[in-house]
């Protein structure tokens, strides 16, 4: 079953490629259409006239620059903290025997399924009282909580595969415990930690619900929220091509990460098997 490459498989492959890439290519084409062309209406797929003016105006837009900085900063900090905490938890679950292991996993499962919008009200209220509303920590904290389940599962699955006896073997061969940890365990665990970090970053980068409800200014507003509010005064006639250029700019980092680490991401997704 695996070895043959029949015509049905080839058709299937083409179908997958078209499915995955068509909307992406479409929004790229839109982003190259001059603003005047989309304002007048241009239903054809390719631009009549190729132009980079949208990218110029988007990249010079101060609101968009701030949103990019916010998104990168907030997502990176949340990712680092979340993965650090999850590493401790996953190590305990994979390596130690203790009461309450099932409870921890059940909590993580429940959080992964939690309807995030139902937290908007209470968090909005609490954050305003605590002075966390419209600040970086105000978004980092919920991002951490909601990416922890994903990180914990991915890391637990990876840590279970590590041959931990090798640590002792290295010590028997004369390595100190620090050397055994650094030279043996860290290289074995690093790919898992890295994969968990990528998945966590995707989640934080993608978040929209917290982004729009817990921020009000450029002080903390992340990219997805900034895009949605970029719509302008008339919501049914948004500046299509400029918006498309902004959409392409924020998609580029995702495409680069996917291109570089596709194998790891797939391994992480199917072992952790959960999307935040």
């Amino acid at each position: 079953m695996k070895s043959k490459l029949g015509p049905s498989t080839v058709i299937g492959m083409i179908a997958i490629l078209v499915w995955c890439l068509l909307p992406v290519v479409w929004i790229m084409m839109l982003s190259f259409k001059p603003e005047a062309e989309t304002a007048a209406g241009s239903p054809q797929f390719l631009p009549k006239e190729w132009s980079l003016e949208n990218y110029q105006s988007v990249l010079q837009d101060e609101l968009f620059q701030r949103a990019l900085i916010n998104s990168f900063g907030i997502s990176l900090i949340a990712t680092v903290l979340s993965v650090m905490i999850a590493t401790l938890t996953a190590y305990a679950i994979a390596r130690l025997e203790f009461k309450g292991k099932r409870i921890v996993l059940s909590i993580a499962l429940a959080i992964a399924m939690f309807p995030v919008v139902s937290l908007v009200g209470p968090l909005f209220d609490m954050w305003r009282t605590l002075g966390l509303y419209d600040t970086w920590p105000g978004l980092i904290i919920p991002y951490m909580s909601f990416t922890l389940p994903l990180a914990i599962w991915t890391l637990t699955a990876f840590f279970r595969e590590i041959p931990w006896e090798m640590e002792q073997a290295a010590q028997v061969d004369g390595a100190t415990s620090w050397q055994a940890f650094r030279k043996v365990i860290v290289p074995l665990a690093a790919p898992g930690v890295f994969t968990a970090a990528i998945l966590t970053f995707f989640f934080a980068w993608n978040d929209f619900v917290f982004g729009i409800s817990l921020t009000s200014t450029t002080a903390a507003r992340p990219v997805p929220a900034a895009l949605a509010f970029f719509v302008g005064p008339d919501q049914f006639n948004p500046p299509t091509s400029t918006l498309s250029a902004a959409a392409v700019v924020v998609t580029v980092p995702i495409i680069i990460i996917v291109l570089l680490f596709q194998r790891k991401i797939v391994a992480g997704l199917t072992s952790g098997a959960v999307k935040g």
Binding site: K2, T89, E97, I107, S118, I255, K275
Partner: protein, 314 residues
Amino acid sequence: MSTGAATATPAAAKKAKKPPSDRTRAENRLGLKLVAPAVIMMLLVTAYPMGRALYLSLFKYRLSAPDDREFVGLNNYLTVLTDSLWWTDVFNTVVIMVVTVAFELVIGFAFAMVMHRVIFARGLIRTSILIPYGIITVVSAFAWQFAFSLNNGFVNGWLPFIADDFNWFGDKWPAMIAIMVSEIWKTTPFMALLLLAGLAQVSEDTVEAAKVDGATWWQRLWKVIIPNMKAAIMVAVLFRALDAYRIFDNIFVMTRGAQDTESVSFLTYRQIIEQFELGMGSALSVLLFFSVLLIAWLLVKMFKVDLASARGEG
């Protein structure tokens, strides 16, 4: 998930049987210390605010007039549950959930079958399938909104039976279709990857044996392959169904709830952030939370899947 099932350490299970010694007690303490930060972090942002929502839902409380807060008991719930808007939104959300998950399951399974067979260009297929997964939902919603748009969209021109001046966002069901298309496009790859992992667990020998015994392709699919990856299918459906029930981003971007396309999440958001009705919004939050719980319970009962064991966490 099921890939982890075989890796649970037998050594750990053996250890648990012994009477508690100093060592196991120390291990217990270390384990609890290591998981504590994660557990506290997860509960801090969910359990406490949810409790607060439960409390606030008993009040008439507008953020624009915080001093007029007034205890009203279960009145907010009564108001919501007797309002047809709530039931319309529940209906919309359930329709979106059922339709998207059904389509994702079928298309995702087809994709998984293809990916399972592909030997060359694996990297290319894997990269492209991860792009919809990784892309921001808001961006995907914009891409599809523009694709369906009256002035700038290519969809009307490409579809044979649709008039070129058809306005997808002018009526409820066409708008719902557009929303569902964007949701299905974005999440099918995730479904396909989960199913691919399940497919990898089906033994080639069994499939081959069925083939030798004269089973047709269709019989092999339904009698051998699908029954053997049931756990993977169930987990994928459960996760996607609960995710689809929370749909918010696409609706916010594509219609803002116009033409009766509002979901339960969107209604809750609108009450709190746009109307400042924290009391009523909290009641909606609680109802949203319990409806997700109900769906999870129904699915688990229906499928009889022990999630923990299916994920290899037993």
